[in-house]
């Protein structure tokens, strides 16, 4: 697997005048490099930007995507590279995409629910819907767990405890305003309770959150299924519910969902692939076809299975609509959670 570890080629528009100057320079270089005349994809090498550090979910998605494209030779004569642009939960990456890469169909970016939350939290002017969505590709289920010896046996127990006194429940999960936080808020809202009382403790990653759950520091933990799978299998954590529509099986046991437990709520940690704004319609169509080819590849299905991702494929306008809806929902929810 060819890795171009950490990111490199470009400067990031950071609000500093000098970086603006620089972006001017390399944008110019790009234009000189070979024109983005209407509808010419794929006329150059393609770059997939990961707006986060190597090693995370977005990065893995991009690299597996790249892998499938190379294995199946979906872009003959062209190469695909993965570039990481880190910063501010993806805000730096997306701002580069919509300013510097504008109109360039050869730069794609991975995004997802987490970025929607982060941009809301950062009070960013740029939104995910400012890009040209190509397709949503995968989704990961979230799981709500407690320590194995917790008195809480079902999701209902948890909701009842919260109802009796919200201060008695501390919710542990990842970044504030991220998928885990959104999950907590969604559940509480679906139970008809006040999300502003949610005592959410953020941890820097699944590992740290796992430690906090096992030590009994937090009452309940939320993260992606794969993050807790090992502990669940080992019997150190009990699952109260997963958050998708389809039930998930871990260690041969089918897990309940929020829906099956009687709460009309659903959270999917979806990931999507987007292009810069203002690309020609013809290119968008070709990109959709291209991504569809990846999605239908048996190789991709294999990867999905291995990584525990569910297929979550919406293209073109469906994808745009979905992303717009999610943005509205998340913005409202974060407001109700009292963090923006």
């Amino acid at each position: 697997m060819a890795r171009t570890a950490p990111p490199r080629t470009a400067l990031v528009a950071a609000g500093l005048a000098l970086s603006l100057l620089l972006s001017g320079c390399s944008a110019l270089a790009k234009t000189l490099e070979g024109g983005s005349v209407a509808g010419d994809f794929p006329s150059r090498n393609v770059e997939i930007m990961v707006p986060a550090a190597p090693g995370g979910g977005w990065d893995l998605t991009a690299r597996q995507f790249q892998h499938v494209i190379q294995e199946d030779k979906l872009l003959p004569d062209r190469s695909v590279s993965v570039v990481n642009v880190t910063g501010a939960g993806g805000a730096v990456g997306i701002s580069k995409l919509v300013t510097k890469n504008r109109k360039d169909p050869h730069t794609l970016m991975i995004t997802g629910l987490v970025m929607v939350g982060a941009l809301t939290l950062n009070q960013s002017q740029i939104k995910v819907s400012d890009t040209t969505p190509i397709a949503t590709i995968t989704a990961e289920q979230e799981v709500i767990v407690v320590k194995a010896d917790s008195p809480l046996k079902t999701l209902k127990d948890l909701v009842e405890l919260y109802k009796s006194d919200p201060a008695k429940v501390s919710w542990g999960g990842g970044t504030i305003g991220g998928t885990d936080h959104i999950t907590a808020g969604t559940l509480v809202k679906a139970a008809g309770l006040d999300p502003s009382k949610v005592k959410y403790i953020s941890y820097s990653g699944g590992g740290e959150a796992t430690a906090a759950i096992l030590s009994g520091d937090v009452t309940v933990g939320i993260s992606g299924v794969s993050e807790f799978e090992e502990q669940i299998t080992a019997g150190k954590m009990r699952v109260l519910a997963t958050t998708g529509t389809e039930p998930v099986t871990v260690a041969g046991k089918q897990l309940p969902t929020m829906k099956s437990e009687g709460y009309d709520a659903e959270v999917q940690n979806w990931r999507a692939i987007v292009a810069p704004p203002d690309i020609p319609d013809a290119d968008r169509k070709r990109l959709v076809e291209f991504v569809t080819k990846v999605n239908t590849s048996p190789e991709w299905a294999e990867i999905r299975k291995k990584q525990g991702w569910t297929e979550f494929f919406k293209t073109g306008d469906d994808a745009s609509r979905f992303i717009a809806d999610e943005t509205t929902r998340v913005q409202a929810l974060l407001k109700e959670l009292g963090i923006v």
């Binding site: 060819a2 890795r3 171009t4 570890a5 950490p6 490199r8 080629t9 470009a10 400067l11 000098l18 100057l21 620089l22 320079c25 390399s26 270089a29 009292g338």
Partner: protein
Amino acid sequence: MSASEEAATPGVRAADVEVEASRLVRIIAAIVLIVLSATFLVGVFDIRSPKGFDPAGPRFFPLLVTTAWLLFSIGYLIEGLRSPKTAKAEGDRAWFEPVTLSALLVLYALLVVPLGYLIATALLFFAAARVLGSRQLIRDIVVALVLAIIVYVAFTRFLDISLPEGVLGL
């Protein structure tokens, strides 16, 4: 202050104390520190916090840190004012070299992407060596080029880490 210092740590330390800055410079530094910390202390009130100054909220630590900073800065000012007026200051102070080096680094930061790693780095090395007093033109040029090429090739070709290609397009 320095009297009790000496008393507490006799011997080796005394020789080690290198008073490089004059009393005036120290007093100016103390004032800069006081202004900075006071500004940041005021800045605490700009931090978005639904909980106000609750110890569990985002303002509590900044308040502690900036207050401590301000107090220590005042302490430092007092230390400076009390220091003997005859404190030994370094004779001819050379500002030219550090300022030029800083300017070089700013240029490097701006140019490394458009020019490319190789050229920018060779230029940085050469210019920095000259500023730092090297007088052997040929040696400096050769070392600059060789170093830049080795680093570039080693990182991009063997370690698979991309560095900006720039105008050379290598």
